[in-house]
Subunit: 331 residues, 2 copies
DNA sequence: TTGTAAGCGTTATCAT
DNA sequence: ATGATAACGCTTACAA
């Protein structure tokens, strides 16, 4: 069943039915009703590939995220997808697992659909990806990070500042032997930016940075391993900043089982504010990133730039999106 | 840049370049190399909309899941997407929030792309969706559940049996005042199936079912609320089956803070085997659903049916996919 | 192994 | 407000 079939049934030309779908207000009310009837009767669904070919546009938005299992990105995807689908846009999703090559593959695949926009995580791409998005005739949005003087729209915050804030907070509380535990998954350069913020503050205070990189993979276990290793040192640490709340939760749960007092024996600081963090004993002091907001703002940018919503807001001004330090019991 | 432009540069006709992409083995090695060169040089990306229109096929697979934030579904999406992308398929994702109407919208939107397949969660659809998938000329896969005598391919297990198993397990351990706590989010009829398994077993043993439906929304808090309410009863329960591990975790974390001994005072049983469940104190006894396997098998079915991989396996025979009861400390 | 011609279902453009 | 015609870029079917 094609648009012409519908048109014949109604007794109009195909282009009128086409207008009914794209610009209903340009079709008379009478015709609108009659078309709606036929469409409903036959369950006609427009062929989007044909429309996309003819108009060189589509309502597909491609998104590449490191993975969908992380609570951090899940919230961004969800809010992004929700806002877009409200306006008839569809989400083509791909995972990069922090690999720039997989990201490039995904971008290439998206390109074939003449997408309305593409959303990437961060600004660390292959040269080929960089070329592809430079040439792109549609909006490209980078999320979860900010890099000065980059062309693409960026919706995020400075991870270095987050690392600084966490360290300053602990320093202000009197901690001096502060360690930083990296993400056991490789390739997350944003957690390395947070680490750099940490080492910078440590240096400013004349303190020596203590870095630990867990060797095991499940995050909770990696947190456990890191915690144990750092407590076992000749000169044990008195506070640990973890690259994310999963690692930090692993440490807290491990301490709990062993009867180690937190924060007395060692303060624990996370990143992410996952649902569990508030409920742990002790509850986890952490930084809440604007995960949901990133998705919403990214969607709004795209909708504004494609004309789906009025373009009154200059979304760039929203940057950096605010992170919130949440003081709880663990630090 | 179109396929004809590439063809001109190489000095062949467009169809040869087309073959290079779809059936490389039908193009001479010499030509293959020369085409590859030009493609790389100009960064040519085939227009998928045009190809889809001409062939009435696409490598888009539409998937509707209740939400992507739940650890349960996240694993399914991830494994599904990973396997499909290995074969050049792309994932169009939509959330239903357990709403059949939203599901229908998503299916309609997918249809316009002449997708290679559509994957739904469960078998509870609107009549219109039912009609749409009956008429579909591509595979439709229903995941996370089994319903006898349904036409679509189903990849899942019987939730009623899961509810039965949990209850029998607790009964075998000597518990008699067993309660079931439903999902605070509405519309998850699979958790109601598990509940029905529970009530059936209770009835078989002449025990009265005790049902509780939390009124608050965040799962951890709903679990807390449920736990407190069930312990406060005149005749307190001695075991609780929760609709999922988040609710159960909320109960365990709450008990921990209050110094209530689990399982002595009350046994806790979950569903889902989330990452945290193993690490709680006490660790959570639960049932591990085949989340990852569901995604993998669903993908394999689609790949087999579309001819991307050999069709030697009769995937239906894999059903029901096995759940595993994981005995830990909480029950 | 390669090519020719037609057509996929829609929308842009220009008319009326 | 509605219509005629010509693309859009690719693949199918058939031919050589």
């Amino acid at each position: 069943m094609t648009i012409s079939d519908v048109a014949k049934r109604v007794g109009v030309s195909a282009i009128t039915v086409s207008r009914y779908f794209t610009n209903p207000e340009k079709v008379s009310a009478d015709l609108r009703e009659r078309i709606a009837l036929v469409v409903a009767e036959f369950g006609y669904v427009p062929n989007l590939a044909a429309g996309g070919l003819a108009s060189a546009r589509s309502r597909i938005v491609g998104m590449v995220i490191p993975n969908i299992s992380s609570p951090i990105f899940a919230n961004t995807i969800q809010s992004f997808s929700d806002r877009l689908s409200l306006h008839g846009y569809q989400l083509l999703l791909a995972s990069s697992y922090f690999s720039r090559e997989l990201e490039e593959n995904a971008v290439r695949a998206f390109l074939g659909w003449t997408p309305a926009a593409i959303v990437l995580t961060g600004h660390f791409h292959t040269d080929a990806t960089e070329t592809l998005i430079e040439r792109a005739s549609f909006p490209v949005v980078e999320t979860w990070d900010l890099q000065p003087q980059r062309k693409p729209i960026q919706v995020g915050f400075l991870h270095r500042d987050v690392g600084r804030d966490a360290t300053q907070y602990l320093f202000g509380k009197g901690y001096r032997r502060i360690a930083f535990v990296q993400n056991s998954g490789t390739g997350d350069y944003r957690s390395l930016d947070r680490r750099d913020g940490y080492t910078a503050v440590m240096a400013e205070h004349g303190l020596e940075p203590i870095l630990f990189a867990p060797t095991v993979l499940p995050q909770l276990e990696a947190g456990e391993q890191s915690f144990e290793a750092l407590m076992k040192r000749d000169n044990p640490v008195d506070a640990i900043i973890f690259a994310n709340d999963s690692l930090a939760s692993g440490a807290i749960l491990s301490a709990q089982r062993k009867g180690i007092n937190i924060p007395e024996k060692c303060a624990i600081f996370g990143f992410g504010d996952y649902a569990i963090s508030e409920k742990l004993s002790p509850s986890l002091t952490t930084i809440r990133p604007p995960a949901k907001e990133i998705g919403e703002v990214a969607a709004s940018c795209i909708l504004a730039l494609t004309g789906a919503i009025p373009q009154d807001a200059e979304f760039q001004h929203l940057n950096p999106l605010p992170c919130e330090l949440i003081e709880r019991e663990s630090a």
